[in-house]
């Protein structure tokens, strides 16, 4: 009944009708491949390089802040540093890693598809991302330096009067390219998930990671065009003599903020939801339980996405020109579905058999760090509290808690799925060392920043007043940042020492979802054959037919397929 059936699923493909990959090799293969696994791997490598570049900027920033009147960099260079640190991390690392790297590799094999719906569009997305990254970073090689107006590029500071020079235009150009990259990926993910699922894989049998990627893709389609439009307007103001954002011509500077943040807030959920999905999968597998509250998770994800489109002006509470109560209640409400997810993750672990692999440790690191970041975000949803925390280190601490949590999630994803797409496991001892460095480093880095912010230290400051307590807190934070950097070095070392050493096999983790049914790495077009799909855990059902998911109150017994059939939409 849960046996694999022959003949295999017949998929027409037109590269000559071969199962094995023929065609170009070497660099020409890389330039012309439309295979989602190759593209996904390219995204992974490029985005991790961006992580390292952004991280280097961060270490320089912390070096400058090691002393109150630091002279490591000049005031002008400092403005470039934090602008490019934020820009590289958000636009060039976190986004592409979230929706271009693992999603590209994993979503098709999680739903039993041979590739993404539009393989050539997928490849184009990668090339736009790569060239966009080069464009943005090449600002450093221009006479005026890279963009220096903050990763948010507020008008009027970002206009041609205040920021002349090619660096700013390269920033805009880079974002135009990466923006279209993201939009095309959003189209591809939606189409793939809507149209290429395997037989029996109904919508409510998709893994949570795929669900999260679907919602992410929809958010991308709703949000990124708005950013693109805003960037075009900014470029026009800078070069075509328009006055959209400048007072002198009858424009409205704060309009930039509305447009930017209408994209900007969904963007942070575009970044977060994929990592939520990764962590959900990892926790379930390493607790040997199904995802707790599967439908509740999906409902929570959809709610988060919907609400996230209506909260943008909580970044603008101190402008004095936005409707405070509307954005306050909408922002506070996001805590509810996020809390549902948190409790569902705990519920997944509850009464499980938890195995502390590196992936699971990283997922636990995510849970703890995200809890702190999420709780501190609730303060920021209250305008009177935002009035004295906005633009201080409290906000920086909040979002760094959240993004460091996403880094934990990404590491969990890499350790968990890395063996699937490379065929080899990573060394667990190095992994655990990396985890502890990352965890201790993250808390040491972020917690002093909360205190500094509440004590009155504003953000984007190259120098700060000569207060011994402030210096101490900054130094602890710097130490944390150094540990985070070391953990990244350890990660790279792990990849090197584990290179092709520990073959993984099809399913090293006794995992549950469909991608673990195929080989590691998957063959060309992903599956030689598919199992029967009767739940969101087809591989688990195939391997453990007596351990189907239970409703509350139903206890273990030997179940046949029909008796425990849950009705799915």
């Amino acid at each position: 009944m849960t046996d694999v059936l022959d003949p295999p699923v017949h998929v027409e493909h037109h590269d000559g009708g071969h199962e094995e990959h023929h065609g170009p090799t070497g660099i020409l293969n890389w330039l012309t491949s439309t295979d989602h696994k190759v593209i996904g791997l390219s995204y992974t490598v490029t985005s991790v390089i961006m992580l390292v570049i952004g991280g280097l900027f961060a270490e320089i920033i912390r070096g400058q802040l090691a002393t109150p009147n630091g002279t490591l960099v000049s005031l002008a260079q400092y403005n470039e540093l934090f602008t490019m640190h934020g820009s590289v991390m958000i636009y060039l690392f976190a986004g592409p890693f979230a929706f271009g790297a693992l999603a590209n590799i994993i979503v098709p094999i999680q739903i039993g598809a041979p590739d993404m719906a539009f393989p050539r569009l997928n490849a184009l997305s990668y090339w736009l991302y790569l060239t966009g990254s080069i464009t943005m970073l090449s600002g450093f090689f221009t006479a005026g330096g890279a963009a220096n107006f903050g990763w948010v590029g507020y008008a009027p500071l970002s206009n041609s009067l205040n920021t002349p020079g090619a660096g700013a235009d390269l920033w805009i150009g880079g974002l135009l390219l990466t923006g279209f990259s993201a939009i095309f990926t959003g189209v591809n993910l939606c189409a793939t998930i809507f149209y290429l699922r395997a037989p029996g894989m109904t919508m409510f049998r998709m893994p949570i990671f795929t669900w999260n990627m679907l919602v992410t893709a929809i958010l991308i389609l709703l949000a990124f065009p708005v950013l693109t439009a805003g960037l075009v307007m900014l470029y026009a103001d800078r070069h075509f003599g328009t006055h959209i954002f400048s007072v002198a011509g009858g424009g409205v500077p704060v309009l930039w903020q509305h447009i930017f943040w209408f994209w900007g807030h969904p963007e942070v959920y575009i970044l977060a939801l994929p990592f939520f999905g990764m962590v959900t999968e990892v926790i379930a597998v390493f607790s040997r339980k199904p995802v707790f509250g599967y439908k509740g998770m999906i409902f929570a994800t959809l709610t988060i996405a919907a609400l996230s489109l209506g909260v943008w002006a909580h970044h603008m509470f101190t402008t004095g020109v936005v409707l405070l109560p509307f954005f306050s209640i909408m922002s506070l409400l996001i805590a509810v579905p996020t809390g549902i997810k948190m409790f569902n993750w705990i519920g997944t672990m509850w009464k499980g058999q938890i195995w502390f692999s590196t992936a699971m440790l990283m997922a636990l690191g995510f849970l703890f760090t995200f809890l702190i970041g999420g709780l501190t975000g609730i303060y920021l949803a209250s305008p009177p509290l935002d009035f004295f925390t906005h633009d201080t280190y409290f906000v920086i601490a909040h979002f760094h808690s959240v993004v460091m949590a996403l880094v934990f999630g990404g590491m969990a994803g890499l350790y968990y799925w890395g063996p699937k797409f490379t065929g080899y496991l990573l060394n667990e001892k190095f992994g655990k060392m990396q985890f502890w460095l990352l965890f201790i480093g993250t808390q040491l880095f972020t917690i002093p920043l909360y205190i500094l912010g509440l004590d009155g230290m504003p953000r984007r400051m190259a120098v700060y007043p000569n207060d011994p307590q402030w210096k101490t807190l900054n130094d602890i934070s710097t130490l944390g940042a150094v540990l985070i950097g070391l953990s990244t070095v350890l990660f790279v070392i792990n990849i090197v020492v584990s290179w092709k050493k520990y073959p993984a096999g099809d399913n090293p983790w006794d995992a549950q979802t469909l991608e673990w049914f195929t080989t590691s790495p998957p063959p060309h077009h992903n599956f030689y054959r598919l199992p029967q799909i009767r739940s969101e855990r087809p591989t688990w059902d195939h391997n453990h037919p007596n351990y189907r998911s239970l409703q509350h109150g139903v206890h273990e017994g030997v179940h046949t397929l029909d008796a425990t059939e849950e009705s799915h939409v």
């Binding site: 998929v11 390219l177 709703l222 209506g310 943008w312 060309h524 939409v569």
Partner: protein, 130 residues
């Protein structure tokens, strides 16, 4: 396709309600327009999927009792390799650089883009054969 339709329609409806409340309460036009556009973006594909879901034959992936062999149809063209994404990407790169370094870069930029559009379309019409 019903679930897919409902997700998008639901999103459109949510946007519509938010827009109604927000625009009337704040009288702030940028947010109002963006929310209204979001509502349309949800209703357009959602409406299409809903209309189509009532007319289409049930698909194997919507059938909870489907057998694996049911999907023995051509699911799409999956070309193994194509130079045109790279060409298009390079074209877009040069077009953007033209925004920064001068209009003359539009020559290689648009040239590559047009080559990719024509070549890619022709390649697609051949179902991915080279």
């Amino acid at each position: 396709m019903k679930v897919e339709a409902k997700i998008l329609l639901g999103l459109g409806l949510f946007f519509g309600l938010m827009c109604l409340v927000y625009w009337n309460w704040s009288l702030e036009n940028a947010g109002g327009v963006m929310m209204f556009a979001g509502m349309l973006l949800g209703f357009l594909p959602g409406g299409y999927y809903y209309w189509w879901s009532r007319r289409m034959a049930p698909r194997p992936e919507d059938n909870p009792q489907a057998a694996q062999a049911e999907s023995s149809v051509v699911v799409g063209a999956f070309p193994g390799s194509s130079i045109f994404p790279f060409v298009m990407g390079m074209g877009a790169f040069f077009v953007v650089l033209a925004l920064v370094f001068g209009i003359w870069l539009l020559v290689p930029g648009l040239g590559l883009v047009v080559w990719a559009l024509l070549g890619g379309t022709a390649e697609g019409r051949r179902s991915g054969e080279h």
